[in-house]
C-alpha cells in the first residue's frame, strides 16, 4: 500500500483480519470493557460483538456523559431554565434525559428558552448577541469536552461577557475506572481506553492503574479497524499475562496528550467529588470552577432547591452503567422504555448502551 494513501479504517477486510487473529490467540474467557459509549454504539453498529469468539464478552462502560449526569444536576438545569430571562443552552443529547418529573424538552414546551448548541463557544456567542439575557451552558462531558468549556470561559472573560455562565457537571474517566476495578462486583479483565479522552489527557495516568490493578488497557479509536485492533491487543496482553497500557490509536493520541488543552483545564477547573447517576458518589471524579472563575458558575447566580428525587423503579440503568447487567436483562427494555419515552438516560443518548441495543440488537441474538 502506498504510504501516502489514507488507510480505510472501516475496511471490512482489515477488521476481519484482526478478528481472525483474536480467534487464533483466544484460549479462555475474558471480559473486556469499552469505557466509551461512542465505542459501544460503533461495536454494535458494525456487529463486532457478534464476530468475536464466544469466550470474549464486551462489557459496556459508564462513558456516556448524559447517562451519568446526576438527577440533581438535571433538576438544577430544569429550575435554572425555567427562570425568566434565562437562555439555557445544552448539547442536544441532554434534551430528553428524564429528570424527576420532566425533561428539558418538556421544559421548552412549557415556555422555557432551551436551545441546543454544538459548541460551548456558540453559547458565548449567544450571550454576546443578547446582552440583556442570562445565557447558561450545561457543562457535561468527559475530559474530551472540558478544554472547549475552559476555552469558552476564558474567551468570555477576555471579552467581558458577564451574562454567560455554566452549570458544572463534567466528569473524569480515571476515578471511574478506579471505582469499577475496586468494586467487589467487578468482572472486567481488560479495558479499551477511550481514544478521544486520551487525545486530550494522554495515557500516562493509565499506566498507574494498569500496575495497581494488574489490568491491561489499550487506547482505542472508534472505527471498526480501530476497535478490532484494540480488542486484539487487549486479548493478546491477557493471554500473555501482561498488564500494560498500549496505544492502538496513535494517529490521535500520544502518551503525554495535548498539553495546551490540559493547561486550559487546570487553569479554569479543579477536581471535586461528583455524584454519578446510577453509580453514586466518586471522590474527585468531577471538575468544578476554581475560585478565580467561580463568577461563571450558574449555581452562584441562580438559587435552586428541591425535595427528594426518585428514579423510575423499573429502570436498571445503574446496573447497566456499572457493567453488571446488559439492556437485555431489563424487563422494561423496548417495552415501557424506548427512545421516544425513555425511563433512563442510557435509552436517550446516542452513547447510551440501551439506545445502542434498541437500535442495533433489539432482540437478544
Amino acid at each position: 500500500m502506498n504510504a501516502s494513501a489514507p488507510l480505510d479504517y472501516r475496511s471490512a477486510e482489515l477488521t476481519r483480519k484482526f478478528i481472525e487473529q483474536i480467534r487464533h490467540i483466544t484460549t479462555q474467557p475474558w471480559n473486556i470493557m469499552e469505557i466509551c459509549g461512542g465505542q459501544t454504539h460503533a461495536l454494535l453498529q458494525y456487529g463486532i460483538d457478534q464476530l468475536l469468539p464466544p469466550e470474549i464478552t464486551l462489557i459496556h462502560g459508564p462513558g456516556c456523559p448524559v447517562c451519568v449526569t446526576s438527577l440533581e444536576a438535571i433538576e438544577t438545569a430544569l429550575q435554572i431554565a425555567a427562570q425568566p430571562g434565562v437562555i439555557f443552552t445544552t448539547f442536544g443529547d441532554m434534551l430528553r434525559v428524564p429528570g424527576n418529573h420532566q425533561d428539558l424538552f418538556s421544559a421548552r414546551a412549557n415556555g422555557a428558552d432551551v436551545r441546543v448548541v454544538v459548541s460551548p463557544m456558540d453559547a458565548v456567542g449567544l450571550a454576546q448577541a443578547e446582552p440583556e439575557r442570562q445565557v447558561v451552558f450545561f457543562a457535561i462531558g468527559f475530559e474530551t469536552t472540558v478544554p472547549s468549556i475552559a476555552a469558552s470561559i476564558l474567551h468570555a472573560e477576555r471579552n467581558h461577557i458577564t451574562n454567560f455562565s455554566i452549570l458544572p457537571a463534567n466528569v473524569l474517566v480515571p476515578p471511574a475506572i478506579h471505582a469499577i476495578l475496586s468494586s467487589p462486583e467487578n468482572r472486567v479483565n481488560g479495558f479499551l481506553a477511550a481514544g478521544h479522552v486520551c487525545a486530550v489527557m494522554g495515557y500516562w495516568e493509565y499506566e498507574l492503574i494498569a500496575a495497581q490493578y494488574h489490568t491491561p488497557l489499550v487506547v482505542t479509536g472508534f472505527e471498526p479497524v480501530d476497535l478490532a485492533r484494540g480488542i486484539y491487543q487487549t486479548v493478546r496482553q491477557l493471554e500473555e499475562g501482561r498488564c500494560q497500557v498500549e496505544n492502538a490509536y496513535s494517529r490521535a493520541v500520544t502518551r503525554e496528550g495535548n498539553r495546551t488543552a490540559q493547561a486550559l483545564i487546570n487553569h479554569v477547573f479543579e477536581p471535586v467529588d461528583r455524584q454519578w447517576r446510577g453509580i453514586g458518589l466518586i471522590p474527585r471524579s468531577g471538575l468544578g470552577l476554581r475560585a478565580a472563575y467561580r463568577s461563571f458558575d450558574a449555581l452562584e447566580r441562580f438559587p435552586v432547591a428541591f425535595n427528594t428525587l426518585v428514579e423510575s423503579p423499573l429502570c436498571i440503568a445503574g446496573q447497566v452503567l456499572r457493567g453488571v447487567a446488559t439492556p437485555h436483562d431489563c424487563p422494561a427494555f423496548s417495552r415501557e422504555c424506548t427512545p421516544s419515552s425513555p425511563l433512563g438516560a442510557p435509552m436517550v443518548s446516542s452513547e447510551g448502551a440501551c439506545a445502542a441495543y434498541y437500535r442495533y440488537q433489539r432482540v437478544k441474538p
Binding site: L7, G38, V66, A151, H196, A199, N258, T260
Partner: protein
C-alpha cells in the same frame, strides 16, 4: 459526546482574541476553535469535538496498523509451516 471527526484546516484567523479556523470535513466547512491546538497550520488535519480541535492527526499510524497485521499473519504462517514440519 466524545465523538470527534477529522477535518483539514483551510484557513486560520483570530476572532476577539481567540484563535479560530475554517475546517473542511469532506466537503462541509465549519468554524473550529484552535485554542487547544495553537501550533496547527493550514493544510494539517485536526480531530474536532464540540467545535474545538482536540489534537493534530498523525499520518504514521496507518502504516503501523498495516505493519502489525502483516507481522501477525507472517507469524501465523510460520506457526503453520512449523506444524506441517512436525
Amino acid at each position: 459526546m466524545c465523538l470527534a471527526i477529522p477535518g483539514k484546516i483551510l484557513e486560520i484567523y483570530e476572532r476577539d482574541g481567540t484563535l479560530m479556523s475554517k475546517v473542511d470535513f469532506g466537503g462541509v466547512q465549519q468554524e473550529v476553535c484552535l485554542a487547544t491546538t495553537p501550533e496547527a497550520q493550514v493544510g494539517q488535519y485536526v480531530i474536532v469535538h464540540a467545535g474545538f480541535a482536540l489534537n493534530l492527526l498523525s499520518a504514521e499510524e496507518a502504516e503501523e496498523t498495516l505493519r502489525l497485521l502483516k507481522e501477525l499473519e507472517d507469524s501465523n504462517q510460520a506457526d503453520e509451516n512449523l506444524g506441517e514440519g512436525e
